[in-house]
Every structure is written in C-alpha cells, then in structure tokens.
C-alpha cells in the first residue's frame, strides 16, 4: 500500500509539473513558431511599397482562410534604422492598416475613416525615437505626423482593401499595392 501511495503522490506531482510545462509551452510557442506570419513577410523588409500577400480571389496565398473580396498587402519593418512612414491615398474602397508585432498580436489598427485630406499616413517608431523626435521638434511648427509607438523593433503592417464587387477587385489590388512604406533616416 505504501508503494501505491507514493505512486499516487508521484502522479500528482507529475500533473502539477505538467501544468507548468503546458503554460511554458503556450507562452513560448509564438516565439518558436517558424511558419508564423512574420516569417512569411520578412522578405518585404526592404521594399518601398507594400507587397501583395493575397490578391482578391484568395488564390495562391499563405494566408489561412483568405477573404476573396479583400486584397491584402504587407510591409515588414525594422525600426533599427529609424521610424517607418506608411502612407496611402484613400479612394472609395474601404482600406485599413493593422500593425502587428513580430511574434504576432496587433498593437494598432486604423481605417480610412481617419484619413486627412484623402491621405492616411502613420509613422511608427520606438519609444526612444519618439522622445528624440519630440526633442528635435520646433515648438512653433509642431509636426502633424500621427505617431504610433511600436512595442518591438520588428513587426509588420497589414493593408486590407475590400472590393465590394468582383469588378472592383483589380482596383482594390492596385490600391493595396500603391501603399508606400518608407524608412525615415534619423528624424
């Protein structure tokens, strides 16, 4: 009976440690995943324009469950070289930006409703770059940039343009590809 009692204790210990293993595995998996979205967009780090991830129609894309009515384009960024400015001309088609961390997870999103004079323009930077930009700013001529602080140095922006009808799909694709994302050298 004593042996059996110890066996029970060992099993309970095993279950308690298993809870810890489970938690560690769940927390670590976004950092260990090798097929996540950032790996797929990494090649766009140096591109000046958003690269198409999923053309309307949803064919040939790594994106799971693509929406055939939506053109999806992406810009990866690495803020080590300075802030990144992403800009789009807003047309009649619904357009939105979402900003993602390298390990996945959204940190900011904005739609074309926030556009000013037909332009949607966001500057994303690290907290340090924001401090520097503020320090360098002229008090009488404050910057009009919309600045977003990125939690990590690396990440990516996803551009979505929705085509309400199939005939607008080429236009949505053009709008998504026309989005520019330029690295700003020391502002």
């Amino acid at each position: 009976m004593r042996g059996f009692g110890r066996f029970i204790i060992a099993t309970l210990c095993g279950i308690v440690i298993a809870v810890g293993v489970h938690i560690v595995a769940i927390l670590a998996s976004p950092h260990l995943a090798d097929r996540d979205a950032f790996n797929n967009v990494q090649s766009t780090l140096t591109a000046e324009r958003a690269q198409l991830v999923s053309a309307p129609g949803g064919e040939d894309t790594w994106l799971p469950r693509p929406d055939p009515a939506v053109a999806v384009a992406t810009c990866a960024f690495d803020l080590a070289n300075g802030p990144m400015r992403i800009a789009a001309r807003v047309g009649s088609l619904p357009l939105s930006f979402s900003f993602h961390k390298e390990s996945g997870g959204v940190f900011f999103a904005v739609t074309d409703r926030a556009a000013v004079r037909g332009e949607l323009e966001i500057v994303t930077m690290t907290a340090r770059q924001l401090d520097e930009a503020r320090a360098a700013e002229d008090e009488n001529d404050p910057s009009r940039d919309v600045r977003i602080v990125a939690p990590d140095r690396q990440g990516f922006v996803i551009v979505r343009v929705v085509a309400p009808s199939p005939s607008l799909r080429p236009q949505a694709e053009e709008a998504a590809k026309a989005v520019t994302c330029t690295a700003e050298q020391d502002t």
Binding site: R2, G3, R6, F7, I9, A10, T11, C13, G14, I15, V16, I17, A18, V19, G20, V21, H22, I23, A25, I26, L27, S29, P30, A33, R35, D36, A37, N39, N40, G58, E59, W62, L63, P64, R65, P66, D67, P68, A69, V70, V72, P94, S96, S98, H100, S103, G104, G105, V106, F107, F108, A109, V110, T111, R113, I158, R160, V162, P164, S165
Partner: protein, 207 residues
C-alpha cells in the same frame, strides 16, 4: 519471517522506486504538458469567445489584450486576424439547431446582417480552404447580394443550381461559413445582438 523481511523491505522499496517515480513523474509532466499544449494550439481559443446563434467570434483575437492561447494559436496558424477597429470575423460550423454543416444538405442563410460598412460571407471547406466548385463563387458581399423589397436577403447554399443568391457547396464533407463585418460601428462585438445575425436553416438533406 517477520524478522527477516523488515530490514530488507525499506531498502528495496525506497531506493529503486524513488528514482523510478521521479522519472515517471517528469515523463508524465512532459507528456501531459506538451500534449495538452499541442492540442490547445491546434484548436480554437478556449477563452473569450462571443457566440451569437450559430456564429462564433473571438473579439480579442485582433487586439493587444489577446490572451496567451490566442497568441499561440495565431502563430501556429500563421494567421493575421482582423484587428479591433478593422472588423470582426464570425465563423459558423453548425446550423441554427446545432447540427454540423454538411455539403450533402441544402441551407438558407438570411435575412438580415449586422450593421457594418461592408460584410462578406464566405464558404470554406473542412480544411479551411476555399472550396473548388463549378460555380467558382465562394463569397457574397453586402454590396452584391440580391435583396427583396424589405431589404432582406436569402443566400442558398446547395450543391445544385438554385435561383437567387446561390453559393455552390463542395462535393462532399463538412464546411464552414465565415461572416466578416468590416468597419462595424462601435467597439468590436460590443453592441451586437443575435437577432441581427443571419439564421442558417437546414432545408433538406439529399444523398
């Protein structure tokens, strides 16, 4: 007999089994912990789901408050969820009475949808891919769906030709329907009600 057994038993019972039990406990922990984690990240997020009729969504999936399970699942799928503020995607795997969706049946979806700048309704097969059908249409958007005089719509899902809004189902197997609301008013999922969602009715099941 007693005098013989007692000095022996503490030795045999303690030394070998203790090492064995520690290894057993660690292996159990590793096996159980990793298998449950694997199972969890291949499924749906266990917490924070919003269920309205047949439709299910995870409003926090596209927000900075996503829990660790959601983050692990997003990384595993390689997915880029719709962000809060961009829109919200609802998935249906069952009809209005809770029966799994099956391509052998005919369904009608209607007649209203929640307020949004635009919505799309898309079919996926059991593996989450866009189904390949003769019709080649897998989606309806709110702009192209045909409506009646009271502004209501009905989309028929069937393998065979149907009048009106028709989406052809794949040849066999289960399927899912995803309703994506783009740019809905208010915060994600805050003021949505079940009555505003389209109802998925099973009409008939042929062989």
């Amino acid at each position: 007999m007693r005098a013989l057994l007692t000095p022996i038993s503490p030795v045999t019972f303690r030394r070998v089994p203790t090492a064995f039990l520690i290894i057993y406990a660690l292996l159990l922990a590793l096996g159980l912990g990793l298998s449950t984690a694997y199972w969890a990240i291949n499924g749906d997020p266990p917490f924070g789901s919003l269920r309205l009729g047949s439709w299910q969504a995870w409003p926090k999936l596209g927000s900075p408050e996503a829990d660790p399970y959601m983050r692990a699942i997003i990384a595993r799928r390689g997915d880029v969820p719709l962000a809060t503020g961009e829109g919200l995607g609802f998935t249906a795997r069952t009809d209005s009475e809770g029966r799994p969706l099956d391509s052998a049946c005919t369904y009608s979806i209607g007649a209203v949808a929640p307020i949004a700048r635009l919505w799309t309704l898309t079919l996926y097969d059991g593996d989450g891919r866009l189904p390949i059908t003769e019709l080649r249409r897998r989606t309806f958007t709110s702009a192209e769906v045909l409506r009646d005089s009271q502004d209501r719509f009905t989309i028929t899902l069937s393998r065979t030709l149907q009048p009106g809004n028709w989406l052809q189902l794949p040849a066999s197997g289960p399927f899912t329907v995803v309703l994506r609301l783009y740019d809905p008013p208010g915060a994600a999922g805050a003021n949505l009600e079940e009555a505003d969602f389209p109802v998925i009715q099973r009409l008939e099941c042929g062989a």
